[in-house]
Amino acid sequence: MEDLAAEAKADQMDSALKQKKNSSLWLDSLSRVVKSKTSLIGLIIISLLIIIAAFAPQIATHSPTDQSIINRYQAPSAEHWLGTDELGRDIFSRLVHGSRITIQIGVITVGISMIVGVFLGAVAGYFGRWVDQIIMRLIDIMMAFPSILLAIALVAVLGKSLTNAMIAVGIVGVPHFARIVRSTVLSVKETEYIEASRVIGAKNGRILFSHVLPNCLAPIIVQATLTIGTAILDAAGLSFLGLGAQPPLPEWGAMLSDGRSALQTAPWVVMFPGFAILLVVLGFNLLGDGLRDALDPRLKQ
């Protein structure tokens, strides 16, 4: 009973301390992110993307899928702000609706990479020895492939679809998370407070998930933000190759691919979706850079 009470108390203190430390760390970081001009721009771009996605039906001027053959390949005009594509669909409206798919791609792919990667990295780093050996050799093998090629190969196995493209890009991102988390876990698990919780009898799972992992949160968040950009690029690349989103989905990479054949007569069909991808990826990269600087205690003044 006594050690249970002691553990509870230690836990309480631990979480109270963490709370205090965390709130100041997060607030501190947030204020630094907002103060930095570049990451603020990133934050604004991403907020805009989210707002556009949330109000897509209200913002779009036309239906994203309504076809009108007589209106095909129309140049940008007052009626069709960004022109129309080969089926006479309004590009602006398709871009607006496509923002939902882009967010979905970013969140789901990075979600897969993060969950699998963090789990593998944490287990490898915490348990060490043969567990570590096996997991890290698997990671080595995955890293022996150029990422887009591995993603293409996985889609070849799974079949062409947006869902499978997201799964493939998600799997490809796993090694980065696993490596980062493993190295952080390796250093955290040697600290005294981990030793202390082991002494009072905390189980491995508890130590790992409630004491070690919370301290790996900062690098995980930074990695996640930076990976969203790459994931969106890779998924768009897959759709561009015809391996991801299938018609009539207004996915930006697929829209761009559709416009290839009309590059000479209707360059706007290719121009705008690509620019949208560039802008969103730029937003996540700017925010990621800013977060990295803000969460890195070494850069604190």
Binding site: A144, I152, L256, G274, I277, L278, V281, N285
Partner: protein, 334 residues
């Protein structure tokens, strides 16, 4: 040194075995019958059975894997289901095109990236620093398939300056020696072919170079800034060495290690990026070959090509590690 190289090569063995298992499994991970997925819904049972026999799909998996590796060890990469051509010959014919493209792109990326990074660091917070680093931020966020198409639109369609696809114009004669056309045209002193090959290389090379160039520039800048703060740089400046000498002889040499790491990593990216770039510019290289094979479910081609690309990638990483020691004698190899 030799010991180290041998040890590293040995340590690659498990990775290569793992990679080969993964490449081999691709065909077998396909849900359902691989023969059916290759031939399509309309194939008859006899056709399916013939293909299964041809690909030895009826053997136990371990036997199939043994055959696959045994053949590869003797240089036989199998043959394409679609074209019946030997995969080794196809890859051999296409590899020079990919090598030329990646080397050209890497040269642009390293020269421009390192120079921009050094100048940006030396003139920190100047207009050049701001401009080049903003450019680099756009560069790392660039969908290169879009950039490629925009280049074609601007330089081929609108301005008619550069050819949109291929490696050489039809009316140009070139005696091939290495099959790297730029090099061949120099070796055979063929000025006309050199200009033509360069014109064909320019757009795909630039598109492929964009992301590595941006990453190298950013890494060079931050690494240089770190080094320029050191005491010995101040000493060098104080004793009156010319600024350029200090920057390039003293600082860049010590700032080059992280840059080198990034360059090595970016080679892998180039191999992957070549897949997209070659598709856009109809560049007859390995990248496009593998995409075509994947799209047409030509699994023997996919297996071998992916294995080869992965092995090249792993070897490039090894070479990067070895180059470290040449740049930084402090690193011990044991």
């Amino acid at each position: 040194m030799l010991n180290y190289i041998i040890r590293r090569l040995v340590s690659l063995v498990p990775v290569v075995i793992g990679v080969s298992i993964l490449a081999f499994s691709l065909m077998h991970l396909v849900p359902g019958d691989p023969a059916r997925s290759i031939l399509g819904e309309k194939a008859t049972e006899t056709q399916l059975e013939m293909l299964r026999e041809e690909l030895n799909l009826n053997d136990p998996l371990i036997v199939q894997y043994g055959n696959f590796m045994g053949k590869i060890a003797t240089g036989d990469l199998g043959e394409s289901i679609k074209s019946k051509e030997s995969v080794a010959a196809e890859i051999g014919g296409r590899l020079p095109a990919t090598i030329e493209l990646t080397l050209f792109a890497m040269t642009i990326a390293v020269v421009v990236g390192v120079l921009a990074g050094v100048i940006a660091a030396v003139k920190q917070y100047s207009w050049f620093d701001n401009l080049s680093m903003s450019g680099a931020l756009f560069g790392v966020s660039m969908p290169i398939f879009w950039l490629g198409l925009m280049m074609i639109w601007l330089f081929s369609v609108e301005l008619n300056w550069l050819p949109p696809s291929g490696r050489l114009s039809n009316d140009i004669e070139l005696t091939t020696v290495t099959n790297l056309y730029l090099l061949d045209s120099i070796l055979t002193l063929n000025g006309e072919a050199f200009v033509d090959a360069l014109k064909h290389l320019l757009m795909p090379g630039l598109a492929l170079a964009t992301i590595p160039m941006a990453i190298i520039a950013r890494m060079t800048r931050s690494s240089m800034l770190e080094v320029m703060k050191q005491d010995y740089i101040r000493t060098a400046n104080a004793k009156g060495l010319a600024g350029r000498l200090v920057v390039f002889q003293h600082a860049l040499k010590n700032a080059s290690l992280p840059v080198l790491t990034v360059i090595g990593l970016q080679f892998g990216f180039l191999l992957g990026g070549a897949v997209l770039t070659e598709t856009i510019f109809s560049w007859p290289g390995v990248g496009r070959y593998v995409v075509d094979a994947i799209l047409s479910r030509d699994y023997p081609v996919v297996q071998s090509t992916i294995l080869i690309i992965a092995v090249i990638f792993v070897l490039v990483n090894l070479i990067t590690d070895i180059l470290y020691t040449l740049f930084d004698p402090r690193i011990k190899l044991d």
